[in-house]
């Protein structure tokens, strides 16, 4: 073979993206998630329309509709990216892929891009429903600019969630274990930490789920809220925060950069033992 024909990293990245996209689109996991998003989005829209729970303005309607995006993002990201690296070490796929003349970081970035595109498409379905629900009451007079910004934030949120999922995936050899742990950490782990922080008066600026609140907060006129409630006979103070948009962006970028860099480092050094 003529070694000069070896494709550049960029070309191989394109190959990895296309191949991984095809892989995702053929999996039951993708079809299941698509079905889930379609059904839940439809149900939510029907309930909104039926009960007229669309708020007092188009922005309110969009805010209500997009508050669930964070949870959807976590579900989609965890299921799509939860085994992205582990699959090379827990099955024979790695023996097929890792002996090819391609840098592991290129493979990883290709898989990441494919996972991002698939996740974004699924979240896009949810946005379509939200727009449908808001449009039912307010027609085309919707906050399009803020909607665009919210989609951008959701995309950034997905990048951060996928980076976390890829990082956890790099710790394990079994794809199934990797996916379960990723889902548990993203769902329960962050939620528990956030719950504790509510009681301790510490703003959870290091929580990815907290940052996800910025996706809906874009539609709010007063984006950074600190609500303090006093509860119980001893007057226990419970604080809840909503992040500034810039704060949300900073947290998401931080997670994206750090987790993706770490997962690339681990993937690069991980050995195919056993």
């Amino acid at each position: 073979m003529d070694v000069d024909r070896l494709p550049s990293d960029l070309e191989q990245w394109g190959t990895a993206v296309r191949r991984q996209l095809r892989f995702y689109l053929k999996t039951w996991r993708f079809l299941g998630l698509l079905l889930f998003v379609v059904i839940v989005g439809a149900a939510s829209t029907v309930v909104t329309i039926y009960y007229h729970s669309s708020g007092t303005s188009a922005s309110d309607a969009m805010y209500s509709g997009t508050t669930g995006i964070g949870i959807f993002g976590v579900i989609v990201g965890a299921f799509i990216g939860g085994d992205a690296i582990a699959m090379d070490f827990g099955s024979g796929t790695g023996y097929f892929m890792l002996v090819l003349p391609v840098r592991r970081v290129v493979l990883l970035l290709g898989r990441f891009a494919a996972a991002f595109l698939v996740s974004l498409a699924l979240i896009g379905v949810f946005y379509a429903y939200t727009l449908l629900g808001a449009g039912w009451f307010y027609g085309l007079a919707l906050p399009w600019l803020d909607t665009g910004a919210s989609i951008g934030m959701a995309a950034l949120f997905l990048l951060a969630i996928l980076a976390v999922a890829f990082l956890f995936s790099s710790f394990f050899r079994s794809p199934a274990v990797s996916m379960v742990v990723t889902i548990l950490v993203l769902f329960l782990g962050f939620d528990i930490v956030d719950g504790i922080l509510v009681l301790t008066s510490i703003e959870p600026w290091f929580s990815i789920l907290y940052a996800g609140g910025a996706i809906a907060n874009i539609f709010e006129s007063q984006p950074h809220l600190i609500v303090t409630q006093t509860m119980g006979p001893r007057g226990l103070s419970i604080h809840s925060w909503s992040p500034y948009v810039w704060e949300g962006i900073a947290i998401m970028v931080g997670y994206f950069v750090i987790c993706l860099a770490l997962s690339a480092f681990i993937y690069q050094r991980k050995e195919s033992k056993g």
Binding site: M1, D2, V3, R5, L6, P7, D9, E11, Q12, T15, R19, R22, F23, K26, T27, S91, G92, T93, G94, Y95, F96, L98, V99, L100, P101, V102, R103, R104, R269, E271, S272, K273
Partner: protein, 314 residues
């Protein structure tokens, strides 16, 4: 274009605190041909091949393919390499054609007629239907798909870890014929447990035991060195074993190995062998008279049962 080469220098791998899986292995092969890599389970064969393909990182030493260090520049080192290590599995949702096509695209992009090449491999390896999903294939079928993926774009260095493991006799013959054809202008390094296979394909052989290379030579030299000093004889009619023992001093130990079949030890000299045959013919009609077993098998057994047999030559 330089000749294909494989080189390991003082290559060692420790998985944990126990005995090293590989210790100080060194060898270099350049040009075309087939090298058999032999040793018992756990000897360090797969570890060596994994180090050569970047699946493991060496504890010490280096592995180079086509004069490029695998650890330092994985992509360039494996640019002209096709490898089968352990049991590779294409993505289950991929079709046979997609899996081979993907390997080809990573090696050389979309240049050339990849479809025609896949068609040729299909003929050579009798692949399962190209539209079948890899997840639905049997182990043997998946192995042939992986072999096809390792050979697409015709890489000049082929590294194979027990390539016929899990294949039926017909499939083994296919692979053997293909490798015999490839070795004319490719460099093949293959591990195997099957002495017959190595004898039929390889020109050179490396024996490894307990992580150390114990012998490295041409198959012919090893065969000569470990030539069995025994012959098997089969008579057409029953013959008493004592009559064979009574043929003279040139006959060593005589063992009954079957009905009318005997194994006779001697000093290994061709003249003695001929003398014994003359005597046997006088005892009854001889149906067959041949060396007792495969020389490589003897070498293998001799080397792995004795640490002192054969000095490391790596």
């Amino acid at each position: 274009m330089t000749a294909p080469s494989i080189e390991v220098q003082d290559l060692s791998k420790n998985y944990n605190r126990g005995r090293p899986a590989l210790e100080g292995a060194s060898f270099r092969y350049e040009g075309s041909g087939a090298i058999g890599y032999l040793g018992p389970n756990g000897a360090g064969k797969t570890t060596t091949l994994k180090l050569l393909t970047g699946l493991l990182r060496p504890s010490r030493g280096s592995a180079r393919v086509n004069d490029v260090d695998v650890l330092r520049d994985h992509k360039r080192a494996l640019a002209d390499v096709g490898a089968i290590i352990e049991s590779p599995e294409p993505y289950p949702s991929q079709t046979v054609a997609e899996a081979i096509d993907m390997a080809g695209e990573f090696r050389a992009g979309r240049t050339g007629d990849l479809a025609a090449e896949i068609g040729e491999l299909n003929t050579q390896l009798d692949l399962p239907p190209l539209g079948a999903r890899c997840g639905t294939l049997s182990k043997g079928q998946r192995q042939r798909v992986s072999i096809a993926a390792s050979l697409v774009r015709d890489p000049r260095v082929i590294i194979l870890d027990e390539p016929t493991s899990g294949l039926d006799p017909k499939e083994r013959i296919l692979i053997r014929n293909l490798l015999n054809e490839k070795k004319r202008d490719h460099l093949i390094l293959m591990s195997s447990h099957l002495m017959q296979e190595v004898t039929e394909i390889c020109d050179q052989v490396i024996f490894i035991n307990e992580g150390q290379i114990v012998l490295r030579d041409s198959v012919e030299s090893v065969a000569n060195r470990f030539q069995t000093r025994a012959v098997d004889v089969e008579f057409a009619t029953p013959v008493m074993v004592d009559r064979i023992r009574g043929l003279g001093a040139q006959v060593g130990e005589v063992r009954v190995v079957g009905e009318r079949r005997f194994r006779i030890s001697f000093d290994g000299q061709p003249t003695t062998r001929a003398e014994i045959l003359r005597g046997l013919v006088g005892l009854g009609p001889v149906l067959s008279y041949q060396s007792a077993s495969l020389a490589l098998e003897d070498a293998y057994l001799s080397l792995i049962t004795s640490d002192t047999n054969g000095a490391p030559r790596g």
